[in-house]
Symmetry: C2
């Protein structure tokens, strides 16, 4: 079938041990012998069988990346960053998504189990008992993206959302004279929403802003639902001179459009800001003031940590925090820093 180490050995008149040695650059092989072997290898176009190698070495050089959903720019950028870095480091990337409403155990197992991958980077949007249980079973190097799972040993890469939210809201309060800020987030169980909401409460409290009972909404990060909510609420919000802080750009876009549909304009009647700085942030008119989240860096960082851990399993657990950046455009009403489209 394919050319094996034995074929190379035969052609170079050495034993397979020697071929293996030149392959692994371990013990010193005689200069001359090595050259003979190397030319045999290239003549035959030989490359070692991954399975045989994996069987011996217990290493596949494959890293797994599990995402909650492959939809949207956010995930696609994470994949992109991860893929690039993995390749730089000589690893292959295996990707898997966890279907939204599945608890993910099975799929996680599909990638993480049976020793195929050397390490696993997992992004979980919602930590519940079942996901925790699944993660606990993983015995290979694990990096958790954008979250932290208690009781499970792992490295993690998080986004410093707090700082981003703080910068964003301070900008609204200090530079745009916001006196009331409405929060439109994702599901209450969503990890990002939780963090962003928490920071929102801190900042508003600290600044002495009133947050009425109805000022916090939980949607699903989609344009459509935000638009629908907007249709019902924009007039009221505008009347109360509220600013809208949407927990992602899609929802911010939905609300801007709802305002427009109601004959209101952003930012004059209803300033709106988003989060993530995805493609839509520059597609809305006015363009969104938002917080840039280093999506692809996140993927890359996860792979970095994973490799380090794979190659040095005893390194203590690391938690890497990635900085965000406030991007001021026009939707907040005070364009200070205008970035290029």
């Amino acid at each position: 079938m394919s050319v094996s180490i034995q074929d190379v050995a035969d052609r170079a008149n050495v034993s397979i041990s020697t071929v293996s040695r030149v392959l692994n650059r371990r013990n010193i092989v005689n200069e001359e012998t090595r050259k003979r072997v190397e030319s045999a290898i290239s003549d035959l176009g030989y490359s070692p069988n991954v399975f045989a190698r994996g069987l011996m070495l217990r290493k596949s050089h494959i890293l797994g990346l599990v995402l909650p959903d492959l939809h949207g720019e956010f995930y696609s950028e994470v994949i992109r960053g991860a893929n690039l870095r993995a390749r730089e480091l000589g690893y292959n990337l295996m990707i898997s998504s966890v279907v939204a409403k599945d608890d993910g155990s099975e799929l996680m197992a599909a990638v993480g189990d049976h020793g195929l991958v050397d390490g696993l980077a997992v992004m979980i949007s919602e930590v519940n008992a079942r996901t925790r249980a699944t993660l606990e079973k993983i015995k290979i190097p694990l990096v958790v993206l954008d979250g932290d799972v208690e009781g499970v040993k792992h490295d993690s890469v998080v986004i410093d959302q707090r700082t981003g939210v703080v910068a964003l809201l301070r900008h609204l309060i200090e530079d745009c004279q916001a006196r009331r800020i409405v929060f439109v987030g994702g599901l209450e169980t969503n990890i990002d929403t939780i963090e962003r909401l928490e920071a929102y409460r801190e900042v508003t409290a600290e600044a002495g802003l009133e947050v009425a009972a109805g000022d916090v909404y939980h949607l699903d990060y989609e344009y459509d639902t935000a638009f629908e909510l907007g249709v019902k609420k924009v007039r009221e919000w505008a009347r109360r001179r509220a600013f809208v802080f949407a927990a992602n750009d899609e929802m911010a876009a939905g609300i801007i459009d709802a305002a427009l549909a109601a004959g209101l304009s952003t930012p004059d009647d209803l300033p709106v800001v988003g989060f993530d700085d995805t493609r839509v942030a520059t597609m809305t008119r006015p363009r969104l003031t938002t917080v840039r989240v280093p999506m692809s860096s996140m993927g890359a960082a996860a792979i970095d940590l994973l490799c380090q851990r794979v190659e040095n399993p005893k390194r203590p657990a690391v938690k890497l925090s990635l900085e965000t950046e406030l991007v001021v455009r026009e939707s907040c009403g005070a364009a200070a820093v205008v970035t290029k489209n």
Copy 2:
């Protein structure tokens, strides 16, 4: 270390052969024995070692997907479709991108070589001598996405762009009274651009429309460059009552914005249509009339073909053509079919 087939055999008081048999559901194993083995398996949490298995079977159950670039919604949707289908079929998906200006040989080899993957789905935006040479070396099942490489045996999944372009342009000509249509495409070597341009020439010729020498532009599929071109050209186009057919939505958006910046409005002064029906198509104002390309279906179809070929290598080569769909919104000036945002 990990639990092996031997451990299961010991615990169930059988030989490893029997365990292997129950695993592979081949020869009939005694009912009672089978149960004993099965409970031993679940007690021990055993799952067969992929490497050992791959070594014997010459099958990894891993499929490779190579894309020209992981950027953008188009690719991310392809990945999504492929991933979902692969999982449904019990395969794992390994992803790799080919860095834009690299010839791709190395990366393609990285995934396709050394027998790691059972099959390879490749999307190449530009077929040149080097990529062809690389593809010729691939001896495993191969599916080419959105293209066809002569002299290489492979299945392929293509998008029926011609029909899409025809429907789109006919709509402009017949329903919107277009008498002049400007074409803004990607690079001249880009495979999609070539096809779309060809169809464009056919339709305009057939309808007796004049295509001036300067009416065909080659950009790079990006918003920015289209915007720049638009800044220079929109007035002239508007004066000549031209319609703009941009070969993707991003460029269409760039041109609409350029028109707006020049004080012109779409569709009144300058109708613009796009292609792909990505997220931006509904973010522009007016929203884009465009052609929906079944991106995730493309990924799924590729995986389908790949599996079929992996499981039945002698099946004759197949070329699957995916239908596109005209989506009429407002940017063309004649909203007939208005789809939901």
